[in-house]
Symmetry: C2
Subunit: 168 residues, 2 copies
Amino acid sequence: MHRNPDPRGTCAHEETHGRPVDGDAVESRARAYAVSKGVPFTPMRQSVLALLAASGKPMSAYEIAEKVSDARKLKAVQVYRALEFLQEAGCVHRLASRSAYFACDHLHGERETAVFMVCAQCGAVQEAASELVARGLRGAAKTTGFRPRHPMIEVEGECAECAGTPER
Amino acid sequence: MHRNPDPRGTCAHEETHGRPVDGDAVESRARAYAVSKGVPFTPMRQSVLALLAASGKPMSAYEIAEKVSDARKLKAVQVYRALEFLQEAGCVHRLASRSAYFACDHLHGERETAVFMVCAQCGAVQEAASELVARGLRGAAKTTGFRPRHPMIEVEGECAECAGTPER
DNA sequence: TATTGTACTGTTACAACATTACACCCTTGA
DNA sequence: TCAAGGGTGTAATGTTGTAACAGTACAATA
Ligand SMILES: [Zn+2]
Ligand SMILES: [Zn+2]
Ligand SMILES: [Zn+2]
Ligand SMILES: [Zn+2]
């Protein structure tokens, strides 16, 4: 059900599709967060974040463990620890629909509602913050007396590039 | 909310929190789908759907396998097969945020955008269809040329009952 | 300097979720 | 009778995520 599509098989122009994020910007955000929490920004955390930022696509923790070409072979549990920190720092998100993680260089207001748009063809993720969606959610919640806490919006579809080149 | 005398023993706690769906309605929808596809609506499928409808809460496949009190002990893979059919039939949804499945007696228009509101306390799920959210998503997609196909919106929070009775 | 506290690391084991593979039924229709 | 297509039962395996614990690094403190 949530097997990740094989990038090599589905998309010949992988290079054109990646949406690498600004690695430096995102790393400095992570460093700032580490300072604010009084914890170190370790090489482990740096490696995982750099890989995600460079790839620009969601990857599973096990995939990350394989691809962190840091000589050492990482175990998944180590990756999960790094991801936990990076998610707290706000520079990595988890895609529940794929059990995958990706780097993000946006600045998220505390109250923002992020929309993740995942391309079914190439796997690239685009992020948007829609006030209209946020209002809609508040409205839907109000009619049932529900108190929203953590909205999660993931849309599968086709990115502009893949829609434009329908048959690779 | 509906007349749904649970045949088998569900505990009293569940009783107060569950939001049982209309089991008959949802089963007839599943039967109609089976007919339309020329496949049988088997006892296996019926049992799984009935259990989900009666419980009114999301359950994992393994939980379902345990609780289908049908004398036989089901293996998870059998439950997954039934769930696959029931999801196609549109009477069961998967909650990605919890890797759980729940029955739904709504009629989903092809273009509707469903919002799942999951109570963090009691686990109950409420479903709503917000046109405002749908418009917001279309808007967000349009600005990036993204073609939305399967939106997935899950909001964690507290249902009216749990918010009203903080410490039951 | 020695001690303590805190957090990261490396490793093993395991829990929870999901799929693949295959043999064995059925029923339906040549 | 036979083959084809689907459902079932079972075992094995794959994937995702945590718990537990011993060891290490380092800073604050006595
Ligand atoms: Zn983001
Ligand atoms: Zn794409
Ligand atoms: Zn529904
Ligand atoms: Zn509740």
